[in-house]
């Protein structure tokens, strides 16, 4: 293949999520249909309209040394933990250069966040008001800047081919992985650490999203609050965490004898140009992204057996996505097992594309689709085969899966992965 059209594969995964401190525990919980949502017990949550969230299962302070953790925003802490797991999972034993299997000049990072270091920004403003100028941390700027997770991961692994941070709200994590695929496909890098992270569980984002009428207010039943495709859905539940994968050119992975999880076939991207927050109701923009994916890759609709849907549990968004799948794939949608893992993880905003790509990689690798919990009464407008209460085996042979992510601003990103048998 020419350097501009190289095959890209996934060789490592890592995550820290509301379901577990790594990808294995997260995957186990996803297959078991466990919810990561709970009631917020913090004092600041007492009088808020929304008092639920999917909080991280393992606090980063339990994993990272204190001197390092105190210089990183929570979003960068999550990203670093997930990236370290993915890096080791890919078989690398030290940073690039020290491990001769990776050339630092051929290694990149693309780790995104939707909001960036929002708890640092707000926390330091509180310190400025309450304690004065001198007490504002000199680390504030490098902690709050949205490229901080990508930059810190880049320093950790010694990535010199480029460190990037696409920002597209809740599509950020998926856009990061798409960008990474292109870096390898076009020959800019051989290995890229890519994913998404978010840490926005703080009263201001919760109140702000709540005032948009975007969040579930089902405080009485936290574990039942995130219910994609169910007639009773009333908005998303905010989650936090990170998911990171290692992408690699096929030849680079083969040369070092790496374990290959799956192929990263490509991406489809479009924009709605419709409304800053509302999804275009017919699904036109999402359909354009799906069409773009088919036009720019060798993916065949007949191969697609699984979709990790964006499905955040909002009344409009969940249905628009299904309509778009129908528009583009027609009856082929009938052989797609559709899973909404946000029913368990909550919505990680810019982290969603990261952890959901990890879930999609594992679904193909283990040939099993995770369930969608809380789906008691399926919205008739969601005309598709949603995997309900129990995980479902996926077929033998060559199979492919999609991971959809859409964001405020009208961003539509669809990633395609395919089983690997070579």
């Amino acid at each position: 293949m020419s350097p501009t059209n190289r095959t890209v594969v996934v060789t490592g995964i890592g995550a820290t999520t509301p379901l577990g401190g790594d990808s294995a525990s997260t995957w186990e919980a996803l297959l078991a249909g466990r919810s990561g949502v709970s009631r917020l017990e913090q004092d600041w949550a007492t009088d808020l309209p929304v008092q639920i969230a999917a909080q991280i299962a393992v606090e980063p302070g339990e994993v990272l040394p204190r001197p390092l953790a105190r210089k990183l925003d929570r979003s960068a802490q999550f990203a670093l933990i997930a990236a370290r797991e993915a890096w080791a999972d890919a078989g690398f034993t030290a940073k690039a250069g020290e491990d001769p299997a990776v050339d630092p000049d051929r290694l990149g990072t693309v780790v995104a966040s939707g909001i960036g270091g929002v708890t640092t920004l707000l926390g330091q403003y509180d310190i400025l008001k309450e304690q004065g100028v001198r007490k504002v941390s000199p680390h504030t700027v490098p902690m709050l800047m949205p490229n901080s997770p990508s930059a810190n991961v880049g320093i950790e692994v010694n990535a010199r081919a480029g460190v990037h941070t696409p920002v597209s709200a809740c599509a950020s994590g998926a856009e990061a992985i798409g960008y990474a695929i292109e870096m390898i496909r076009t020959g800019r890098a051989d290995v890229v650490v890519a994913g998404g992270t978010e840490a926005a569980i703080h009263p201001l984002p919760i109140v702000a999203f709540g005032n948009m009428m975007a969040m579930s207010k089902n405080n009485e039943d936290p574990q039942g609050a995130s219910r994609p495709y169910d007639s009773g859905r009333d908005g998303f539940v905010l989650g936090e965490g990170a998911g990171v994968i290692i992408l690699e050119s096929e030849e680079h992975a083969a040369a070092r004898g790496a374990r290959i999880y799956c192929e990263a076939v490509g991406q489809g991207i479009s924009a709605d140009a419709h409304h800053i927050t509302q999804p275009e109701p017919s699904g036109r923009g999402i359909a354009a992204a799906l069409t773009n994916l088919l036009q720019n890759s060798d993916l065949k609709p007949a191969e697609i057996v699984h979709v990790n849907a964006h499905a955040t549990s909002t009344p409009q968004g969940d249905v628009a996505e299904i309509k778009a799948l129908r528009q583009v794939f027609g009856d082929d949608v009938d052989h797609m097992a559709i899973s909404a893992t946000k029913s368990m993880t909550g919505h990680l905003l810019g982290g969603a594309g990261g952890i959901e790509t990890v879930a999609t990689v594992l679904a193909l690798y283990h040939r099993i689709a995770p369930p969608t919990i809380n789906l008691d009464d399926q919205d008739p407008e969601a005309d598709a085969d949603i995997v309900r209460a129990e995980a479902r085996p996926l077929p033998e042979g060559t199979i492919a899966a999609l991971n959809d992510s859409f964001g405020f601003g009208g961003h539509n990103v669809v990633l395609a992965l395919r089983s690997w048998s070579r």
């Binding site: 040394p65 204190r66 001197p67 390092l68 105190r70 210089k71 001198r134 007490k135 941390s137 000199p138 680390h139 490098p142």
Partner: protein, 82 residues
């Protein structure tokens, strides 16, 4: 009441431990903050602010660049207390 030299060294050792994770016993007069104690320029600002608070002194930004070693800082604080 002014702190003694020993109290200042001990106080700085606690501060450096908190900020950079270096064991207190490694924080000695001849050690360089940057080269020996893992205190970069940003973390040095934190060390200075913590030292100002603990020892009741003012260390202007222009003087911070002269505090290369723990000994420099101890001498500065001793003089500033006087």
């Amino acid at each position: 009441m002014a702190a003694t030299k020993e109290e200042i060294v001990s106080g700085l050792a606690d501060i450096v431990n908190e900020i950079a994770g270096i064991p207190q016993e490694d924080v000695k007069l001849d050690k360089s903050f940057t080269d020996d104690l893992d205190v970069d320029s940003l973390s040095m600002v934190e060390v200075v602010v913590a030292a100002e608070e603990q020892f009741g002194v003012k260390i202007p930004d222009d003087d911070v660049k002269n505090l290369k070693t723990v000994g420099n800082a101890v001498d500065y604080i001793l003089a500033a207390q006087a």
